[in-house]
Symmetry: C2
Subunit: 589 residues, 2 copies
């Protein structure tokens, strides 16, 4: 062993003892005949003193240490004259008797500190150095602890973690699969799983009534800012359960994690909201309920007053921003410009100020009387000093736009504190989604999602309004995960496939082995999956999942550290009986 103590553990009570530590040189300071070296490892930083008088040669050697050199130091722990209360080891220092350079280091391309001078690209290229930074380290420590606590909770509840394959069957439906050519089966391909969905349902057929897996999943999608081609899912399934059982079990899991990882004890049940309410009140199926400002509809009282935009609209709806009547013209213009950005896409914004003195100012004063505007204010519970922000247009579009504005106002008013956590179940999702382009219904979740038993009679008569037995868990406006009760009845499943436009042949081709399995006694079952990367990033208070992944890929799916993907040998392609196609195929050939 190169050390007998870590760089994070020495305290005043250790003063007088001998210690051997090893780590990286964080920094050196030469002050007259004394040189101070901060040595860092995973556990902390310890100050080491080299005294020219005591040992001139050692002092000299210490003066030659560079940043990030790997050193081993032996010496005596002594109480510091000037203590550093910010560092847990700040009460002591080590007076060095021995110094061994275990390895040298080139000057790192950026500073290895909490706030680094390295840009994103540089940090990713040298990810192994970036990972030395204490904040990145804390993210991975958090990730480890969360994974461990997830397993501890689920194990204690009788769940079995069962590994399902990574080399699976390709299915053309859904997102794009990554495929893996099979050398032993030329011309054939495995796919990497987008989720273990089919396998976990098979496990239910097999009687493993409480299954989970912290599983790698893969999607070959064009990557948005916060997607990764491979990501990690907490995948769970239970048998002989109803929605209430699943919700209770995984609410327990989320509470366990908050309690044992963050020290936050949720004693009340998480609130629940129907999808319909979520859309109507927050314009989103994942509302951020850390703050209020719910939507209030004004359509009935705003229409028919001669303001064309409102008169032609399906919906006029607003939020009441408390205390914002003081907003300047510039601030209001900013908000108008915010909703007009292409990412939001609104045409404009109506505002009504309820001044503290009781007067009213509004962008639509020429269409509405003060009494009419006062009626708006009453409905929206506006107090003197509040500001109404109102949008109008096609219902769903307008709600989504107002959702963006509400979140923006939450940010501006400081209502979205990263240290406040507001979990929420969204339930009663629609079973189907209508697609205008192809003029047919698609499954909002997947074709195995069970309809709400009450709505089964409506399947053919009022398809669009059938509710699914599906639920999402949302934290702070981010979807943490979701799931559903699955169909275990073969007839109902056939009806679903028919409604979704699958011919029996196509259904069999894609889901045949699951359908076959279901003929041998499928139990009622359901489950859910939580995005593990997302879960960690929420608890870490981060906006992206990239910072909680040790070796993430960039937006082109590249690992810029090891330069993958990369070309492979022709010999390797030959073995796989594959050929690269020229970028532009010559069609006349």
């Amino acid at each position: 062993m190169y050390r007998d103590r870590t760089c994070g553990e020495l305290r005043l009570t250790d003063a007088g003892t001998e210690a051997k530590i090893a780590g990286w040189v964080q920094r050196t300071r030469k002050m007259g005949g004394m040189t101070f070296v901060d040595v860092r490892d995973r556990y902390g930083i310890t100050q080491v003193v080299f005294d020219q008088e005591r040992n001139p040669e050692l002092w000299e050697a210490a003066n030659n240490l560079g940043r990030e050199f790997v050193v081993q130091i032996k010496g005596r722990v002594e109480e510091r004259a000037s203590k550093n209360a910010k560092n847990p080891t700040g009460d002591i220092e080590i007076f060095a008797d021995e110094l061994k350079v275990l390895n040298r280091s080139k000057v790192p391309p950026f500073t290895i500190e909490e706030n680094t001078d390295g840009g994103d690209d540089l940090r990713m290229k040298y990810r192994y150095l970036d990972l030395r930074r204490p904040n990145v380290r804390r993210n991975l420590e958090l990730r480890h602890k969360m994974a461990f606590e997830i397993r501890r909770y689920l194990d204690s509840e009788g769940f079995l973690e069962i590994e399902t394959p990574i080399l699976v069957k390709s299915t053309p439906e859904g997102a794009r699969d990554f495929v893996v050519p099979s050398r032993m089966n030329p011309g054939e391909f495995y796919a990497l799983p987008q989720s273990p969905q089919l396998f976990k349902q098979l496990l239910m057929v097999s009687g493993y009534d409480r299954y989970f897996q912290i599983a790698k999943c893969f999607r070959d999608e064009d990557l948005r800012a916060d997607r990764q081609p491979e990501f990690t899912q907490i995948d769970c399934e239970m048998s002989f359960v109803e929605q209430e059982d699943v919700i209770r079990m995984f609410e327990g899991l989320v509470k366990h994690i908050f309690k044992y990882v963050k020290g936050i004890d949720f004693t009340e049940p998480f609130p629940r909201m129907t999808w319909k309410d979520a859309m109507e009140k927050y314009g989103s199926d994942k509302p951020d309920i850390r703050f209020g400002m719910p939507f209030v509809e004004l359509t009935d009282i705003a229409k028919g007053k001669g303001f064309g935009v409102v008169d032609d609209a399906d919906l006029t709806v607003g939020i009441c921003a408390p205390g914002c009547a003081s907003y300047t013209r510039k601030q209001l213009d900013e908000l108008t410009n915010f909703v007009k950005r292409p990412q939001v896409g609104a045409k404009g914004l109506i505002w009504v100020k309820f001044e503290p003195d009781g007067s009213i100012k509004s962008s639509v004063g020429k269409f509405y009387t003060e009494d009419e505007l006062r009626a708006w204010g009453e409905r929206m519970d506006a107090k003197p000093g509040d500001l109404l922000l109102i949008m109008t247009g096609e219902a769903m579009k307008t709600r989504k736009q107002l959702c963006e504005l509400r979140l923006e106002m939450g940010n501006r008013l400081g209502l979205r504190d990263k240290n406040v956590f507001a979990p929420l179940w969204v339930i009663d999702f629609p079973l189907f989604e209508w697609d205008e382009e192809t003029q047919r219904f698609y499954a909002m979740h997947h074709p195995f999602t069970s309809p709400n038993p009450e709505d089964i009679p409506m399947l053919r008569t009022d398809t669009g309004n059938v509710r699914a037995t599906a639920y999402d868990i949302v934290v702070n406006g981010t979807e943490l995960g979701g799931g559903s009760i699955r169909i275990h009845d073969a007839e109902l499943q056939d009806e679903m496939f028919e409604l979704l436009g699958f011919t029996p042949e196509r259904a069999h081709e894609q889901f045949g082995f699951l359908m076959n399995a279901f003929q041998y006694g499928a139990p009622p079952h359901g489950g859910l999956a939580l995005g593990f990367d997302r879960f960690v990033s929420i608890l870490a208070g981060l906006d992206t999942i990239r910072d909680v992944i040790a070796f993430p890929k960039n937006n082109s799916g590249r690992d810029v550290m090891n330069e993958s993907p990369s070309p492979i040998d022709t010999a390797q392609l030959d073995e796989l009986q594959l050929e690269l196609k020229p970028l532009k195929a010559d069609k006349d050939k």
Copy 2:
């Protein structure tokens, strides 16, 4: 919830209570006006009684239940008249008041019992039914428990589980990679990792001094009986450690697993054996030390007596099989045929019987006097009644052949009890392996393995005898895993590459990003990896890893249940800019 009790939990103390259970019909027996239905779930089997007198309709319904129907039953728990001591629930039965068929089942293609009538192929095709069998279920339960205990031990020792990528860079060296074409980077490929080796070494550079991961690994090899294209590894690495530290830590892990999973407490340190001793005493680098019969060399006293086979041989070596002097001619012929099988490949077998009456019989009686044979017996510590089995020839070949014979004798003598566990560290592996064909040295483990510091001066003068700081852990003659201390010194690494015939360019091309990382302060480090599938199979007392994997692939790398790999759409190939090559390429084109 469809149940309030499982099928495994009801006891005599529950008699008189109401219970609701759900599960699969294991079997039904009609005895006069009573029908008995055994209902099975993951937790056990409970007997349910339907009484024609009490409820004729329900009794009728019970008589219509088929095997593997999914049922829900409500009733009263009652003490059984004739108890079944073999079943934990055998003291009670449920008198049914309600029966609900939750799902029907086709007749399964084989019996869902410990000993099934289903052949291997059929069981794999219907793996979801095979997984219902209690022995298969116990394997997966064992696997879950082991994974959990591994994590519990390593977490308590300060290890962090860190996920490394599945989409990695392809490296031409080593076993064949599975590759994954990148759509976003046309013409380029990811590889699936053969192990997280490079990433875990990077993590050491990053300062994560105790890393582990239960990781999926992939090798595109022609599959031998007990290989899988994807397998699971317990991958570990530590910094600032020497061999002794690594061995102590992971011996602790293995002991923890035996203790908390099998209830076996290893209080003594595991024995250690050098690779040289293992080869000389057992003819294997993974000796089964559940039993003795070590090799004893007779070369010096057997040579020069006019027996040409022995006179020409490098090595004459034997084992002493206790009490086997009674072996018949037929048994001895069997042993001779055993070593002559092509899998073993010996030319013949010499035997010497030390009869209980003091006389000696031998297959080589015409070349050796009784005194000479008695000298053999003395050296081999033969007692009256023992049998010497001796082989002769080229040293390494002969040892490997005798190893097979020793294991066979162990089997015949019942010395290889699956409930006895004999762990062993094999240390001091050679650093290099000489390859006759290419006339050069190869790394026995991998090119980052550190030489034994004592042997560094011999690197160029006695290359073949340089010992590595590498170690394997062996249980019952099976390699459970192994590892090494890695080179962290850039100069030594360069020397290794040179000795292994890598040009600096090629070394850079293959390991460049690791070499770059090493320039920024690599700490001394080392680790090991244990085969998780193997570890589970050893504790389950199984010969193959397939039975501890939920959804294994067959020897052609196929999943016969879901028929993968499979052809994919041309559209998908087009997107990847790939073309299938015709099976026979037309060379004249």
